[in-house]
């Protein structure tokens, strides 16, 4: 093909690269290899999420106590407004309504903050993306993991509230584990979707709080959907009840609150919960991976 003195003369860059086994720098690896690389970075993902969590309150005098105090204050505010002033319990007894409300707030906050940190996962860490090599999905996953750890602190508060209002730990409490695992998968997928969207359009960080608030009010965080929508067409209640946020909230309520029985849950609730989780976790991951090589551009 070429003369001995300068064997590489006349080759195009691509041919030269192929001859010596060079690969395109920063090319997106195939999905399977990508998952492998991500697994290789699991320690980084965990360490990064813990570091973010610790750094959050490191300048406060009360320090890490805020991990518990913040959700507690949050619950108190919602209790004041919806439990005392607006009286949104409508037929629910106080022993049910207060844990119902607090559970809803905490479980929804888990999804909400995962989405919000997902939006900024790439656009807020462009310096990191432009300096080091790692599968970019590590960032949104790490942020979702940080929110999961945050939720575990909130759970301490939640348990106290639930027990304080007369529901004691029993076998059904175990069910919060699968419910939260599924919700975590769902949240991670959602965070991945919004990480890609937020990398392209950082303006989403301004827009999303309103979207999330609308979603919160539509998901029955502070009221029971079947009771409030009793005089509306059945399909409306169905749509609201089968939305993922409502599903995960209801599952945790069902697990924790004695008086909140399965009659409050929509049909096939576990299948729906699993379906949402699988759809978003897999779909979100693939969607995020498809733009992998472009995240450095900002």
């Amino acid at each position: 093909m070429s003369a001995p003195p300068s064997p590489d003369e006349g080759l195009t860059a691509a041919q030269l690269a192929a001859k010596y086994g060079l690969a395109v720098s920063g090319a997106r690896p195939p999905l399977r290899e990508y998952v492998g690389r991500l697994w290789g970075r699991r320690h980084f993902i965990l360490a990064f999420s813990q570091a973010k969590l610790t750094a959050q309150y490191s300048q406060a005098k009360l320090g890490q106590l805020w991990q518990v105090a913040t959700p507690l204050l949050n619950a108190a505010v919602y209790f004041m407004i919806f439990g005392v002033i607006l009286n949104a319990s409508r037929g629910m007894e106080k022993e049910v309504y207060i844990p119902f409300l607090v559970t809803g707030v905490f479980v929804f906050t888990f999804t909400q903050s995962s989405v919000m940190s997902g939006v900024r996962a790439i656009s807020g860490n462009l310096g990191l993306v432009r300096a080091l090599h790692f599968p970019r999905a590590a960032l949104p996953i790490s942020f979702a993991l940080q929110q999961l750890q945050q939720l575990l602190y909130s759970m301490i508060v939640l348990f106290l509230v639930v027990i304080g209002f007369g529901s004691y730990p029993d076998a059904s409490w175990i069910l919060i584990v699968p419910a939260l695992v599924l919700q975590f998968c769902f949240n991670t997928g959602l965070a991945l979707v919004f990480a890609r969207a937020g990398a392209k359009t950082p303006d989403l960080a301004q827009l999303m709080p309103f979207v999330m608030r609308t979603w919160m009010y539509a998901s029955g965080v502070m009221f029971s959907i079947p009771v409030f929508l009793a005089d509306k067409p059945q399909w409306m209640a169905n749509v609201l009840q089968w939305n993922p946020a409502a599903i995960y909230m209801d599952l945790v309520r069902f697990a924790l609150i004695d008086e909140y029985g399965s009659e409050n849950l929509p049909q096939h609730v576990w299948a729906v919960a699993g379906g949402w989780a699988a759809l978003f976790a897999i779909g979100g991951f693939v969607y995020f991976w498809q733009a992998e090589e472009r995240y450095g551009r900002g």
């Binding site: 860059a13 610790t54 310096g127 090589e293």
Partner: protein, 260 residues
């Protein structure tokens, strides 16, 4: 690729007509900026209005070979660091391609560190971010602390990094970044900071890393350190490759250009 005849030059980095464009949102002010912003969101694709484009690198091509130490020179804002990021695959080129052998890495870990965390945790975090395993970090931990010298004035490694002086922070960052070995190594020489004693130590470490790496790229504004280290120099000006050749030849032209 191993059975090359002696004397054959094996390419490790090939850049082919690389263009890099930064898009800057919100750089345009004055009347109509809100509508411009709106149309930017509504109209996808095509020529975007309200977004300023900065063409940082314009059509750079070169081939780097194993064992070469290549210096990048040029005035501020000429696209040196941007080109390095593109070679590392961290910044996708607008057009053109970069081929590399293995994964080139940029020496630097600043972005992964958090000022609110202790030096101790930052060493672990930085190491993990660079892709080291927990065992490797444990092995090198003491080395990193000793090298940075932050514990010479008391037990600083267990304090948050924000309590360090800026010199100490720079030293710790460099020590973490330099703890890993690299194939194709890229060094932005602004890294070697700190007091005279530490600068000497870090220059030594850079030399060591250079020895282990296959190909080295060095960005520097010091012609002396380019002369000391590099056998070939790329001169960038306004994003264009103005000259590519042996160190002496290029530096002579560059010095004439910059009026030294």
């Amino acid at each position: 690729m191993a059975e090359q005849a002696p004397g054959t030059r094996v390419p490790t980095v090939i850049a082919e007509d690389v263009h890099i464009v930064y898009r800057v949102n919100g750089a345009r002010t004055g009347k109509g900026s809100a509508t411009a912003a709106l149309s930017r969101i509504v109209r996808r694709g095509g020529e975007e209005r309200g977004v300023r484009k900065v063409h940082a690198v314009r059509g750079v091509s070169f081939v780097a070979h194993r064992g070469e130490a290549i210096g990048l020179i040029g005035s501020n804002g000429s696209g040196k660091s941007t080109l390095l990021r593109a070679i590392a695959g961290l910044l996708p080129p607008e057009s053109g391609k970069v081929y590399t052998d293995g994964q080139p890495s940029l020496l630097g870990v600043n972005a992964a560190l958090m000022n609110d965390l202790t030096g101790e945790r930052n060493i672990v975090l930085g190491g993990l971010a660079m892709g080291m395993s927990r065992e490797q970090i444990k092995e090198r931990y003491q080395e990193i602390v000793d090298f940075s010298g932050i514990n010479e004035k008391g037990d600083f490694v267990t304090l948050p990094m924000r309590t360090y002086s800026s010199g100490m922070q720079a030293r710790l960052r460099f020590s973490i970044a330099a703890a890993k070995d690299h194939d194709v190594l890229m060094i932005d020489e602004a890294l070697a900071t700190g007091d005279a004693k530490f600068r000497k130590r870090s220059e030594e470490r850079i030399r060591e890393l250079r020895g282990q790496a296959g190909t080295v790229f060095l960005v520097s504004h010091s012609n002396k350190s380019i002369r000391d280290t590099c056998d070939r120099v790329l001169w960038l000006e306004r994003g264009e490759l103005r000259m590519d050749g042996p160190t002496e030849e290029v530096l002579r032209e560059y010095e004439k250009f910059s009026g030294k």
